[in-house]
């Protein structure tokens, strides 16, 4: 799978997550007045929203690596992380919205056209941060968390604006919030993939076999390569590949490749290595699999 396909998939997941979250959010919003306080309301709504977005985004790694068990486990882990992240994000986003709405835009006159959209966009930006972090927390990767924070915030702000302005421009249309959710999901996905690429250390492209053409983005400090589905780079169905065969490590500015054990041979440009700083265009042989390290 190319980087473009990968980007399209995460954007699709974002859109689907937005669509799925919309009806759930509408039901909770409808019953706002039965909640005892804004605190409980924010936590419940944020948790439900984060749960759905987290489940969709959590399945991303499994889908792109074509490892089915990882789709389910990723979705569950993502949903649970999203549940907590969504609650925290909504709480903080709501706090920011109240603060921005009350402090910065106390003027009644400009409130609807400027104050409310800006305040809401800021709130959504914070919500986006926590939703975007889901994949990073699921993967236990600080780098991915950083990517999620940036991608989520950048994606959340236009989502908030879209919601507010579509509501202002088309007050009769009930789908304004759905549009906002879709844009939020799409932009979180898009900016996540964009930021991920910018912060990535390159791409490993599989050159042969059943995963031929698949590209693995190197966007976290440690990646395991092997047959097991738990690995970030899973080479199931390749001959002579151990469960965990090799490890990729980011050390300073170097990307180091080393075998996971003495019995697992790893060749770079035909030479057997013990630890090797990768350069672009290096050809890696792990079992019967060939991988090509490139910038993009």
């Amino acid at each position: 799978m190319s980087t473009l396909a990968r980007r399209l998939i995460i954007c699709c997941l974002g859109v689907l997550a937005g669509i799925a979250a919309w009806p759930v959010a509408e039901v909770i919003l409808m019953y706002q007045r039965i909640f005892p306080s804004y605190l409980i309301f924010s936590i419940v709504l944020g948790a439900a929203f984060g749960f759905i977005l987290g489940a969709f985004f959590g399945s991303f790694a499994g889908i792109t690596s074509s490892v089915k068990p990882r789709i389910g486990s990723g979705a569950i882990t993502g949903a649970l992380v999203g549940l907590v992240g969504g609650a925290a994000g909504f709480f903080i986003g709501q706090g920011v919205l109240f603060l921005a709405g009350e402090l910065l835009f106390s003027s009644y006159k400009s409130f609807n056209r400027i104050g409310l959209p800006v305040a809401r966009a800021i709130g959504w930006g914070f919500l986006g941060i926590f939703v975007g972090m889901t994949e990073g927390i699921r993967a236990g990767s600080l780098k991915k968390i950083q990517v999620g924070i940036l991608g989520g915030f950048i994606g959340g702000i236009p989502g908030g604006f879209a919601l507010e302005y579509s509501r202002l421009l088309f007050p009769e249309i009930i789908y304004a919030r759905l549009a906002g959710f879709i844009i939020l999901g799409l932009l979180i996905g898009f900016f996540y993939s964009l930021v991920e690429k910018r912060l990535a250390y390159g791409v490993l492209r599989v050159l042969n076999g059943c995963f031929k053409g698949k590209e693995f983005l190197i966007a976290q400090k440690k990646l395991k390569i092997g047959k097991s589905a738990k690995n970030e780079i899973s080479l199931a169905d390749y001959a002579d590949v151990a469960d965990v065969h090799a490890v990729l490590l980011i050390k300073g500015h170097d990307l180091l490749l080393k075998p996971a054990g003495p019995k697992f041979p790893v060749l770079v440009n035909e030479d057997k290595i013990t630890e090797h700083p990768l350069k672009y265009e290096d050809v890696i042989k792990i079992g019967s699999a060939r991988l090509y390290y490139k910038l993009e």
Binding site: E26, V27, E270, A289
Partner: protein, 470 residues
């Protein structure tokens, strides 16, 4: 006491009732900072008598609080959680001095035309303004300066540092005949609009010597900004009440606008008859004292969905009721709910799930079913095809059009070529370079190929692949 005796007394009381001046209540600030964490709203209330003096001895029982999502239908909140008198607010006061600069301000205090600068009302007003600036002791206070006649002019925007205001008094110059009208209500409205963007205590002090005297009404010519609009005194009152801005009026002459007192009292301010600098310098202290005697009322907010929640405080004393309405920001991140729910909402949820399931079934990888050469990267030029299926015994890669896989426009490819040869006996492929080529970054002349081998010929990177290894 007989009914015959009581009736005249009662009717007398009824007749007298409208004559008893009403108290004034205003909300000077709404603090909703605890809304998210504890659902509490704090209201800073100012209750004054008809002369603008704070009323003492108030209790929580005298107040009722209502909330409304639309500003029309109010419902009473369950209860008041706290009531404190003398709430000491550390925040400063944002003043906007609105100075009358109409033609009459260039007469004497007694209303006679004069050409002597020091006798003019405007000179006294300027000096009084400087005295006012000097009397401000709180460094957190801010001061803006505006003037009005036919037009409203802002000299120092509200929220500015104090020193700047004093200097900009020189900007106020004698108006022409066309500019000499008194657009008092319009100017108060514009001043309130300007103050509405500022946070905290907001006070407009208007120094005027006469009545509202609109340009259009008295000339029947269109005003350059207001056109034919005649402003009513209720307009600045409404905005000030909505925004919690108090208007304090200072009369600087013998004539007085008939609604100026109403404007001041209904916005929680008062009217001063000041004709000299000393009297005006007392104004600051009186406003400050007013704020120090404010009441803090805390209640638990309702959860009715609204972008802005209207809050009405009803105050009753001696069978008289007064109320004031303001609003606070109560919007949630996702905004207001739909008018009604429909089971059709389930459809997008299901669609999203189905599409997600289909996405998980997607396989974008291409497994090689036959030997191929895939162009991965071209340093210069363009290949005739990105993926070439090897069908013949010999496959030539070069810059020539006669080659099987042509890399056109690549000068290095013209000097170099590689041939992939199939050996029927061993059922294997070998690459042979005319000059030096690399396979897996190793320089070679000839090399037996394995699936996934990377060949570089003249800057073009090509991947050889065959059936997947097992």
């Amino acid at each position: 006491m007989s009914l015959r005796k009581i009736l005249p007394l009662l009717s007398g009381l009824i007749l007298l009732t409208p004559l008893i001046p009403a108290d004034n209540i205003s909300i000077s600030q709404i603090d909703s900072s605890s809304l998210l964490t504890s659902q509490a709203i704090k209201l800073y209330l100012s209750v004054t008598d008809s002369r603008g003096s704070p009323i003492e001895g108030l209790t929580a029982e005298m107040f009722r609080v209502f909330e409304s999502a639309d500003g029309l239908n109010f419902k009473e909140v369950p209860g008041i959680e706290g009531f404190k008198t003398g709430a000491n607010i550390a925040a400063g006061i944002n003043f906007l001095l609105l100075l009358d600069n109409s033609g009459s301000m260039y007469d004497t205090i007694g209303g006679k035309p004069t050409s002597v600068q020091k006798d003019m009302r405007i000179t006294h007003a300027r000096q009084a303004t400087l005295s006012f600036v000097d009397s401000i002791t709180n460094p957190r206070d801010s001061l803006g300066l505006a003037s009005f006649n036919t037009n409203y002019s802002i000299h120092t925007p509200p929220g500015s540092k104090l020193a700047k205001t004093a200097l900009l008094l020189d900007e106020i110059v004698k108006p022409t005949k066309e500019e000499a009208y008194t657009e008092l209500y319009a100017s108060l409205l514009l001043a309130a609009e300007q103050m509405s963007g500022i946070k905290g205590r907001r006070v407009i002090i208007v120094l005027s010597d006469g009545e509202n005297f609109p340009y259009f009404l008295h000339t029947q010519r269109e005003h350059k900004n207001f056109k034919e609009r005649i402003f009513q005194h209720t307009e600045p009152i409404e905005l000030c009440q909505k925004e919690g801005i108090s208007v304090f009026a200072v009369n600087f002459g013998r004539e007085k606008d008939r609604y100026l007192e109403t404007i001041a009292l209904e916005t929680g301010g008062t009217v001063f008859d000041a004709s000299n600098e000393e009297q005006l310098s007392e104004v600051y202290q009186r406003i400050r004292n007013r704020i120090l005697t404010e009441h803090l009322l805390t209640y638990r907010a309702t959860m009715d969905p609204a972008d802005i929640q209207y809050v009405k405080v009803e105050y009753s004393r001696d069978n008289k009721k007064e109320s004031v309405t303001r609003f606070y920001f109560s919007s949630t991140i996702f905004g207001l709910p739909l008018e009604s729910l429909s089971f059709l909402l389930v459809i997008p949820f299901l669609i999203a799930l189905v599409l997600w399931w289909l996405l998980t079934k997607l396989r974008l990888e291409k497994i090689a079913r036959r030997p191929t050469l895939e162009v991965l990267h071209v340093e210069q030029g363009s290949p005739s095809t990105k993926l070439f299926n090897i069908r013949s015994k010999k496959t030539v890669i070069s810059g020539s059009e006669e080659a099987d896989l042509t890399i056109a426009g690549a000068p290095k490819m013209k000097e170099n070529r590689a041939t992939v040869i199939f050996d029927k006996k061993s059922k294997s492929y070998t690459v042979v370079g005319e000059r030096e080529i690399t396979v897996n970054n190793k320089s070679v002349k000839t090399r037996k190929l394995e699936p996934g081998d990377v060949i570089n010929v003249g800057g073009t990177t090509i991947v050889f692949d065959d059936k997947p290894p097992r």
